[in-house]
């Protein structure tokens, strides 16, 4: 089980919220297939809450586990709370820091989720909400 914490392996073997939502509120992708890792998040947003978040990852165990943990943390939360989930929050959910060299997994899945949110804002809520949201100075990264 490598230098990974058991929680990572648990998420790898029994991941949460795998898949894609049909006609989602937002889609976000990050990473590049040729350099290893790709993540995709689809979200369904309703009344500023994350009703559903599903993900797919091609990549190392850390990326898969991070996607799983992240999806679990954001489901049912308000958009604002969801956007606040940090790298540290994911690491904590995974039992502690990832092995050296694996931190990119956190960026990968957060990127994909944030893009999905932005996609939603762009499509559904229009420029005003984005402005409003930005006003909170939330930084997901």
């Amino acid at each position: 089980m490598s230098n990974y914490k058991p929680q990572v392996v648990e998420h790898l073997v029994r991941p949460y919220n795998v898949g894609e939502i049909g006609s989602p509120s937002g889609i976000g992708e990050s990473g590049e297939a040729t350099c290893g890792d790709v993540a995709r998040f689809t979200v369904r947003i309703s009344k500023a809450y994350v009703e559903d978040a599903r993900y797919k990852v091609y990549g190392c165990a850390a990326s898969i586990a991070a996607g799983s943990a992240l999806s679990k943390m954001v489901r049912g939360r308000s958009l604002i709370e969801a956007a606040k989930v940090s790298k540290l929050d994911i690491e904590n959910a995974l039992g502690g820091p990832l092995p050296v060299g694996k931190e990119h997994a956190l960026v990968l899945v957060l990127d994909a989720l944030h893009k999905a949110f932005e996609d939603y804002w762009n499509k559904e809520a229009g420029a005003r909400l984005v402005e409003g949201y930005r006003g909170y100075e939330v930084s997901g990264e």
Binding site: M1, S2, Y4, V9, L12, V13, P15, V18, G19, E20, E29, A33, T34, G36, D37, V38, A39, R40, K56, V57, Y58, G59, C60, A61, S63, I64, P99, V100, G101, K102
Partner: protein, 391 residues
Amino acid sequence: MPNDYVYLDHAATTPLDERVLDVMLPHLSRVASGNPSSLHTPGAVAREAIEEARESVARLVGAWPDEIVFTSGGTESDNMAVLGLASVDPRKKHLVVSAIEHPAVRGTVEHLEAKGYEVTRIGVDMDGFISPGCFADALRQDTALAAVLWASNEVGTLQPIEQLAEICCEKGVPLHADAVQVAGRTSMDVSRVPISTLALSAHKLYGPQGVGALYVRRGIKLRPAFFGGGQEKGLRSGTENVAGIAGFGVAARCAFDELEERVAHEETLRNTLIRGTLEMPCIHLNGHRKRRLSNNVHLSVEGVEAESLVLFLDALGYAVGSGSACASNSANHKASPVLLAMGRPEKEALSAVRVTVGKDTTQVQIRGFLEAFSVAIAQLRELSPLYASKS
């Protein structure tokens, strides 16, 4: 690890044979062997154990005992051979190697390259073979040595070493062969095949880690690997690892005695594995279907990244390798240069796993593995944004 954990990564390292441990234990006891350089009885006991092991290792490859130098492993043997042969004639500044050498040879050659040597790297075809023609053409008057990985630790391809050795012999170029993976998996006879040096490692044939040997043909004078007490005829100073060397001796003897049955057994399992995995969708076998190591199955699994597959299988109770074990623990997963040299796209090279059976692997284990494998890849592909788009 659960008791029924199945080890299918024999190319990375092999479990220690109980017969090997039995011979090592007396040397690891409190009333143990002395220093083989000592004059007294404990020293003599140690010395005898080493000379007996030297005979067994020599027999495995068809050498004279005085042609065997014990080292700390395959890596040291490869380093010693390449650096040693390169410095025999300082006027010769050209090296010929295959493009798919093990890092122990590749790295040493790169070191020499940085010091001013010119290097010709012989490419391989899509099965991983180097062409004897290209090889012959590359050898020059000023070629200090050629080095060839007899059997690839990754894709398992067996090079036509006898033919390459003949070519070297005709052109008067010394040939170093890395036989770490092939030893104990093919009958070897350096008395017939004109190889100059040959690297071996104990832990790849059910012996202990940290012990290896270099065959050095009579008449070839290498420079010492270490300076010191003058052990191993001055070629490799340092107090000998008596228990380890004795263990290597037994491991070599067993490998010699059981060669045919081991190969037959491994090939049966290997073929079951190849058939079973190739029935699954979008899986490719790397390396030649037949001219490969008896225990090696190397697969590219579309839509699945190697590390996550290895760890998934580990969680299901199966150990397999991802590409080359040597590189797989590095922080950033890099595509195997061997697969790239075989013309595979980078993405496929990142999706490669290596399943290597051993003399004690069973058909039941293989059947269990095939099931676990199909579960693992199905689930990881469900997760994969790259594969999903296909199905």
